[in-house]
Symmetry: C2
Subunit: 649 residues, 2 copies
């Protein structure tokens, strides 16, 4: 049987990259299909690190709290190494993130739970679910339609096939199953897992094919990506040298005092990275061998017990007993990268399909999700007729840069871990303790995800000189601080107003509007924004609320009670449909709330903005700062949007 169904975006692969994209598109009400070859989501093991920036994005979708509640938190990194007498000693403690990096913690939680949050969100947003045990078998792109963005143009056809149990269920690693046991599954995952079985009929339609017409295709289908192969692209780079074992276990007895902290332990026997995990588990990364180029490592001798035996030797004289092994694997992944992530801006790849590296930096799942968080709103903008297809070019540009930085960093990190420690003052290929510690410190900001910095392009204006808000560089994520709402005195992290709903934000740091000059500047901006040719009315469909495409948020530097909401021009707090209530939630002050008088965000100070004169920031739907200009340079807003936005009739 061959059926034909149209969709706007077809996503192949429902790991973190695919699910972040489907969640985004579901939120934006885009007609989306997502398929995956496995019969269930990930249930145990795999990735676990969720960096601060990713938690911020989860917050913008409304489910950060689930992660914060369920996950373990990483607050400190401790290094252990041999002293001059050959004894294992604590050699350093550093905060996991530089203080002030983010209002959210660096959390660690099994990939399966992250997938759970995304699956729940995409169902809530628009009833979207994953079609499982399904894989693409052929595709074609009609070159005559590639440049045609009319509503009924579907340039891509993909034939999907329902898989048999043998094709669908992932193969086990070595002699001992690496999905060791599922007895710890939470109730919501258990009911999900039950659906992916033969008994539940998951493979009843095996062999059936369906041909889908789609406007965009996104391959989130892993390192051996089928979609990437169809694009004629491949991963390029080094094969791995070191072979590492990864194990999630319960530590039932240890004399090691830092088992609930992230630790690096380097001894003569080898190196371990320890990551404390949810539900009292601990993850161990342990080097168990090495290979020469072209060689494959014989995994058959590796067992959870053999990994722990190695750990014991490295950690001696500290004792270590483990009573439960939940999951384990062996990896020998090299640093590899695809030269582009897009083909004609119709077919895209994301996540492991574009870049592979070791898991030790805790970046894989994060970078994969941030790839598609970057892509999702751009696809929606084009599909909704808000923007020209040109803006899709920025996806590969922006994310290739990030992937390249990750690959370079992971190369360095892997070498650091695999190298023998160098005696102080000695020479040779080893890594000195000082080098190791300095590297880990430099890693922390990058590893938080908040250092991502896109270069100027049509969506990122070059940095204004001199910078009016040094804390808001263009191309970086908007850094949140507390402000207080003028109308109801409620304290808000401004980031909580930058929800992922596809809208742009113009943030008017209006300065001290008690000053006549500032008041006039604000009125001039308001008048500009209120004209038919201003960016708000120009790009907003005539029947929609005035804040539905571009939302304006105003933050004054003078005290909350020194000005009344009624004093602000109407366009800055427009009426809402259908009842005509005024949008009081657009107006804020850099002030504290009466119930928390000692808690003030100091957003002007923290972002380096002059509290008298202020500035304007334009922020993308993915919270990236696009443009910063002075209040009287407000026409730059219109010039910026004119590059890619489409006027609405």
């Amino acid at each position: 049987m061959v059926a034909t169904n149209d969709c706007d975006v077809l996503i192949v692969g429902a790991g973190p990259a695919g699910l972040m994209l489907s969640t985004w598109l579901s939120k934006l009400k885009i007609r989306t299909r997502i398929v995956d070859k496995a019969p269930t989501k990930v249930l145990v093991g795999h990735a676990d690190g969720v960096q601060c920036r990713t938690v911020e994005v989860f917050q913008s979708f409304g489910f950060a709290q689930r992660l914060v509640d369920e996950g373990a938190h990483i607050n400190e990194v401790v290094s252990w190494a041999l002293d001059s007498k050959g004894d294992l000693q604590r050699t350093g403690r550093i905060p996991d993130n530089e203080p002030g990096t983010s209002r959210f913690p660096h959390a660690v939680l099994s990939q399966g739970r992250i997938e759970r949050f995304l699956l729940d969100a995409m169902k809530d947003f628009n009833e979207l679910t994953v079609q499982r045990s399904t894989a693409p078998v052929s595709m074609s792109v009609d070159q005559n339609l590639v440049a045609d963005f009319s509503p009924n143009s579907y340039p891509i056809s993909v034939t999907l096939r329902r898989l048999t149990e043998e094709e669908s269920v992932p193969t086990q690693l070595g002699a001992v199953p690496n999905g060791l046991h599922r007895s710890n599954l939470l109730a919501d995952d258990e009911s999900d897992a039950a659906k992916g079985t033969k008994e539940a009929g998951a493979f009843d339609n095996a062999g059936e094919e369906e041909t889908i017409r789609t406007k965009f295709l996104v391959g989130c289908d892993g390192a051996r990506s089928w979609v990437r192969k169809q694009m004629g692209l491949s991963l390029e780079g080094d094969a791995a040298g070191a072979v590492w074992g990864v194990l999630d276990a319960i530590v039932s007895e240890t004399s090691f005092p830092d088992i609930r902290l992230k630790c690096t332990v380097q001894s003569k026997v080898g190196s371990i990275l320890i990551v404390p995990r949810e539900r009292d588990y601990v993850r161990f990364y342990i080097q168990i061998g090495s290979t020469k180029p072209g060689e494959r490592f014989d995994r058959s001798s590796v067992t959870p017990e053999s990994i722990i035996e190695t750990a014991k030797k490295i950690m001696a004289p500290y004792t270590l007993e483990c009573s439960d092994f939940e999951w384990w694997t062996v990896y020998e992944v090299g640093q590899r990268l695809c030269k582009t992530f897009s083909h004609d801006e119709r077919v895209f790849i994301a996540g492991d399909a574009c870049h592979t590296h070791s898991p030790k930096a805790g970046q894989g799942m994060n970078t994969s999700m941030m790839d598609t968080y970057n892509l999702g709103w751009k696809l929606a903008h084009v599909l909704q007729g808000k923007a020209t297809p040109d803006l899709l070019k920025t996806y590969s540009e922006e994310r290739y840069k990030v992937a390249k930085e990750l690959i370079d960093l992971d190369y360095k990190l892997s070498r650091m871990f695999s190298a023998k420690p160098k005696e102080e003052g000695g020479d040779g290929d080893g890594v000195s303790l000082a080098e190791f510690k300095a590297f880990f410190k430099s890693l922390s900001r990058w590893a938080s995800g908040t250092a991502v910095h896109y270069l100027p392009n049509m969506l990122v204006a070059p940095e204004r000189q001199p910078a009016l808000a040094p804390g808001l560089p263009t191309g970086m994520r908007f850094e949140s601080h507390l402000v207080v709402a003028l109308a109801d005195a409620r304290p808000w992290h401004l980031g909580d107003r930058l929800v992922s709903d596809g809208r742009w934000r113009i943030i008017l740091f209006a300065g001290d509007v008690r000053e006549q000059e500032q008041k006039e500047k604000l009125e001039q901006i308001a008048a500009y924004l209120d004209t038919p040719d201003g960016p708000i009315r120009r790009y907003t469909p005539p029947d929609d609320d005035l804040d539905s495409v571009i939302e304006v948020l105003t933050i004054i530097s003078n005290p909350r009670i020194s000005v009344e909401p009624n004093a602000f021009p109407a366009i800055l707090w427009p009426a809402r449909k259908p009842y005509g209530s005024r949008a009081y939630d657009k107006l804020y002050a850099d002030d504290s709330s009466p119930v928390t008088p000692n808690v003030r965000g100091k957003i002007y100070k923290n972002l380096g903005i002059d509290p008298k004169t202020g500035c304007i920031a334009v922020v993308r739907p993915d919270q990236t700062v696009s443009l910063v200009c002075a209040l009287d340079e407000h026409k730059q807003i219109g010039d910026f949007f004119a590059q890619f936005m489409i006027a609405q009739a």
Copy 2:
């Protein structure tokens, strides 16, 4: 058809009091039935205020965030009155809560949504749901069984009947329906509401009867409580004088600057209380008339439009236009109270069944939920064989005191609102502006719910003199501050460790354990707690984890990194079943986390505890402080528990 089913607790009435009890009992896995005469939960209108203490309790069940996200927050109270020229002026601003009252806001949200959170939680915890369109028609208590607490003793029989649509659906008020429209229902309420209709078969079994045997019966069935009548009790007190209208509306236009703040407005025409609400709604409380004792107010002339017309007159010269009326009602409730809340500690009443008063102080829903939050764990303790039935006597004692305070306060508040403003310096019955403002200020702590103070009884030890922790008076709720976990450097609000799971907590403020004297004291306490006759092993079933009845949390005053977890006696961080992982989450320091070095809870300082010598606090499952004693007075812990706990074989 008459069926017979046994349960441990039968709850009549599924408003906030009933649902808080069923949520608590569901969490504690008690066999519970809950019935309500209405076919659905509340959908629009009714109560809306959720005080800080109630939010803390929601947090202890895990759903505070839903309220914080959905609700409006009250941060400031503004008073408006006529100046000497007769012009309406802002006469004062005060924080809604004294700064530092709670880490949670005072939130306002429709009662229907609060019911939603409780219904969802009780389903999650133990699959408990409400049986609707059902009311009790008869009951009997077998006096021979009242004192028999053996497992198969069910002293109470109640016959329930399924109601017809006419009996079940609430009658409307006056000529205009007061459940004005439901078009704003959220999706989860909409699907729930659909089940309560004739079309969905909600009344198909009307007339069917079922007789239930139960160990305890709790009437949460409102001011006209059927259960209370069976107990031969009644509400006693004043009938009302003033008649008030309540209206939830969208304000589409106003020149009044404080429409999103809680305001009192007093003019010659009358008084208004304004409460900003979720989804841009505003609640108005407006006096629309008065009655003499015995009189009934004629409600037929009152409409939403007439209420708003009165509001306009009071608020003149400010303009006010409303475009949407979601719900309204008229009330003339007096302050009335039942003399006891319990009959033989087998039949209880809670909420409006015990006490009625005006809604203006925003206390009704809160006090009702706190009634059953007080009762729930006590019922469970008796049913689970942990404690003697004697402790149930404390329910009526403790909650009568709170209800009496509420009644007295509401009496005063109602008189304040209804009285004419008194000219400054004038005499007569009026209330001066200064009196009005002073009263509102004194109200704020009480209204937050954090001032509730139970008198000494078997569950609340008399205050030790001199007090070792002036910030932790016995009989009041445990005040939360930030601490940092020793093992993983994670910052925790200590309140987040006091979850509602039925456990007692012993909180050891161990002082500076680098000092030999403190270290020895801690070891002596640990030795005491670890003996077979100590309170932990004595009251914990032999096969259960050692923290399953009484959890010990230790908080040191010395810096986190000045001591290792391994240095603490094992009983303070016992091993967990089944895998033997150590409970690292019992050990904390009064210190900051490395990622937030400037955020320190200063729990010793804020609670007034000596950082060198510390103290011990015993905290009930409802977070009430039971006992505070010195570290070397630790035998008081055992004496305290011996009053009511039952040794486990």
